[in-house]
Amino acid sequence: MKYGDKIIYMEGIITEVHDGAVSLDLKGRLGFMKVPMRMLITDYPLKVGQEVGFNMSFLEVLGPDANEKYVSNLDKQSNKRNNKEV
């Protein structure tokens, strides 16, 4: 990581609460994230609209090549989706 040391305080808004995960929009239209419940620390019962804070950095692409393994997994997944729609 070339820029890993740059830590930025970010905020987001919880947009979906599931039994196993929450989704959140990053404030300022900076993206969207979905994390498993156990990665979220809370003192309060979860509600849509609650704000969250966290530190993060920029995402860096690690190399020029696509990982064939992941590409094939993604293809399998999208095939399943397409088959279902037919």
């Binding site: 599931h18 196993g20 156990r38 620390i41 979860l46 990982n67 393994k69 997994n73 399943k80």
Partner: protein, 621 residues
């Protein structure tokens, strides 16, 4: 922050650094000095430079400043008058304890995260009042010391057992093993000799088990098919059943050897159930063979692929439906297993739960996930790792539930847990839980019970359940405790709290978790001094290989050695600040030296074919 005289005495051989601006003429006392516990962070951030010219706390106390120096300036000989000679402290240098290896042993498997630095810089100002709540800061120094090193030589639990009475057998569990060498499809589910037949068309019936199940497929994976693609492995389960009216945890259990159930699945949209921590891919690249929770090499997998209703993969009924459908197949096999003739038993294993009066009483607290959806477990089903009769720990409010060790080993936990493939404990893990097995068979300790406690989502609930854990352990009059958890995330908050609740009652407690680099603890407290890290991966990360970083026999031996040492009144050495895998090796060597027994080191991901995704991970490190 200045120190108290007491802290200063403890740190008399550490560097002396003034905490505030100190005027010439001041006679230095502990009040003028900064607590050395925070130095590593200051050094890391470049705020402080320490070298050999810096005097120690012991040397400068009572000396007089000859120059005015700013805060956080190290005290050297040229700014003070009357410093004590360095020689005196050399004599007092703490004698290295009897344990020879201990001195060289470096840090624990726990890295500190919370120990940040409070930086305040005010260029120019007037009447500035700063009020900073310190509640959150107190934990930091304690976390830094996730110590692991222990002088095993000093663990004579046997020595204290002078009053030991005779061991008392409480209950017995017999596991009768039946060998399976072939799994085929046939007109009915039955076992003939060593061949298991699964009924053709069982899929249609399994779909009907739950309205959320849309499709159901069974694959029989023989070793020649280990190189095929699979969806994320949700769970690995033994196929076992109770004989007669026996209840889980006692009596006779029949189990099939050479074959296991494997639950996998997606929702209709093709999204993996549990979605996160995907370990889909080529089976043999994604499984750490032989871990307690994983398949053993050579075993046949009855792999189910359950497709559940779209968008239910993250709701509680979704993952449960996949497990229920799989259990429908397992149950048919169980029925066939019940009918088998005794003559087919290839091995009979007997587990006896002993209470050993007079020995040190220990309790194992196992923290399981209880945040919801796939973070759930069915507690004490009727059949080993069954579904029927099991109560989800989420519905039980995640409060502690006391198990006998034999209930654990007899499939009393059906785990739905499904993220963090490398660190999650599959159902099979509990079936052959190494810590329970080691403690059960160790004649030097009296294993009182295994307490399961769920990890709820909200902090208030976490503290609620961990207070109950404290009370439970207190009521048992335990002399020592283990607290284990699986994976990482917010469960580390209650993990720390369980340790605190037990530790504050004066009971030595060993914590066990995957931490290393990626799972570094987020909180800590002063009782977290004895920690065992489950990491086995080279890089200290969640490497997406099933069960790689779960509790193994050698972890159990280290933890037992550590707890016995602590119960024997020995001190556990403090750890380095950053994760260092060598600590573990040193500890193991010490145990080997003491006990004279060779401990097998578990293999890690480097022993299996490397998937492209793992290659990528390591090449970019």
């Amino acid at each position: 922050m200045s120190m108290s005289a007491e802290t200063a005495a403890k740190h008399k051989n550490d560097p002396a650094v003034v905490c505030c601006r100190t005027e010439a003429g001041v006679v230095i006392s502990a009040d003028n000095l900064e607590d050395p516990a925070i130095f590593p962070d200051l050094v890391d951030s470049g705020l402080l430079k320490l070298d050999d010219s810096v005097l120690t706390v012991g040397q400068v106390i009572g000396a007089k400043m000859t120059k005015t120096i700013d805060s956080l300036t190290p005290i050297t000989a040229d700014v003070v008058d009357g410093a004590k000679a360095a020689a005196s402290e050399a004599v007092e240098a703490p004698a290295v304890p009897a344990a020879p290896v201990a001195a060289a042993a470096p840090a624990a498997g726990v890295a500190c995260v919370n120990g940040g630095v409070l930086k305040i810089h005010i260029g120019e100002g007037k009447d500035i009042n700063l009020e900073i709540p310190m509640g959150g800061y107190s934990a930091a120094p304690a976390v830094a010391g996730g110590a692991v090193v222990m002088p095993v030589e000093a663990a004579p639990a046997a020595a204290q057992a002078a009053v030991a009475g005779a061991a008392k057998a409480v209950r017995t569990l017999t596991k009768k093993h039946f060998k399976i060498t072939e799994v085929k499809r046939g007109p009915e589910t039955k076992i003939e000799g060593t061949t298991l037949y699964i009924r053709e068309g069982i899929e249609e019936d399994a779909v009907k088990v739950d309205h959320l199940v849309k499709k159901f497929k069974i694959d029989i994976i023989t070793p020649d098919k280990y190189n095929t693609y699979s969806e994320t492995i949700m769970d690995v389960q033994p196929i076992a059943t109770k004989e007669g009216e026996g209840k889980v945890g006692a009596g006779v259990t029949r189990v099939l050897d050479g074959v296991i159930m494997m639950v996998t699945g997606t929702d209709e949209g093709g999204v993996q159930i549990g979605e996160f921590g995907s370990s889909e891919g080529i089976l043999e690249e994604n499984i750490m063979w032989g871990r307690p929770g994983a398949p053993d090499k050579g075993e046949i997998f009855i792999k189910t692929e359950v497709v559940i209703k779209e968008h239910t993969n993250m709701e509680r009924p979704g993952p449960l439906a996949a497990h229920k459908a799989t259990d429908f197949v397992t149950q048919e096999i169980r029925e066939a297993l019940k009918k088998l003739d005794e003559s087919l038993v290839v091995e009979s294993e007997e587990f006896v739960q002993y209470r050993r009066p007079g020995k040190k009483k220990v309790v194992i607290v196992k923290e399981i996930m209880g945040q919801g959806a796939m973070h759930d477990n069915l507690i004490l089903p009727v059949e080993p790792v069954g579904v029927l009769g099991g109560k989800p720990n989420v519905d039980l409010g995640n409060v502690p539930v006391v198990f006998s060790p034999l209930e654990v080993l007899d499939g009393g936990i059906h785990a739905l847990t499904c993220i963090g493939p490398a660190s999650k404990e599959c159902s099979r893990h509990y079936w052959r839980e190494p810590l329970v097995l080691e403690a059960l068979h160790d004649e030097e300790v009296d294993l009182a019970a295994v307490v399961f406690v769920g990890s709820p989502q909200i902090n208030a609930e976490k503290f609620y359940v961990s207070e109950r854990v404290g009370m439970t352990v207190e009521a048992m009059d335990a002399d020592g405790a283990f607290v284990t958890t699986e994976g990482f995330g917010n469960n580390h908050i209650d993990f720390a709290s369980h340790i605190e609740q037990i530790g504050m009652r004066g009971i030595p407690v060993v914590g066990m978790s995957f931490c290393a680099v990626q799972g570094a603890l987020v909180v800590g407290n002063k009782y977290m001094t004895m920690m065992v890290d489950h990491n086995k991966s080279e890089a200290g990360i969640e490497n997406e290989v099933l069960s790689c970083n779960t509790l193994t026999k050698e972890d159990a031996l280290r933890a037992l050695g550590m707890l016995k040492t602590a119960m024997g009144g020995e001190e556990i050495k403090e750890a380095e600040r950053k994760w260092n895998p060598n600590v573990k090796e040193t500890n193991l060597e010490m145990i080997e030296k003491t006990t004279g027994a060779k401990i097998e080191r578990p293999l890690n991901e480097t022993s299996i074919p490397m998937s492209e995704k793992r290659k990528e991970k390591y090449s970019t490190k």
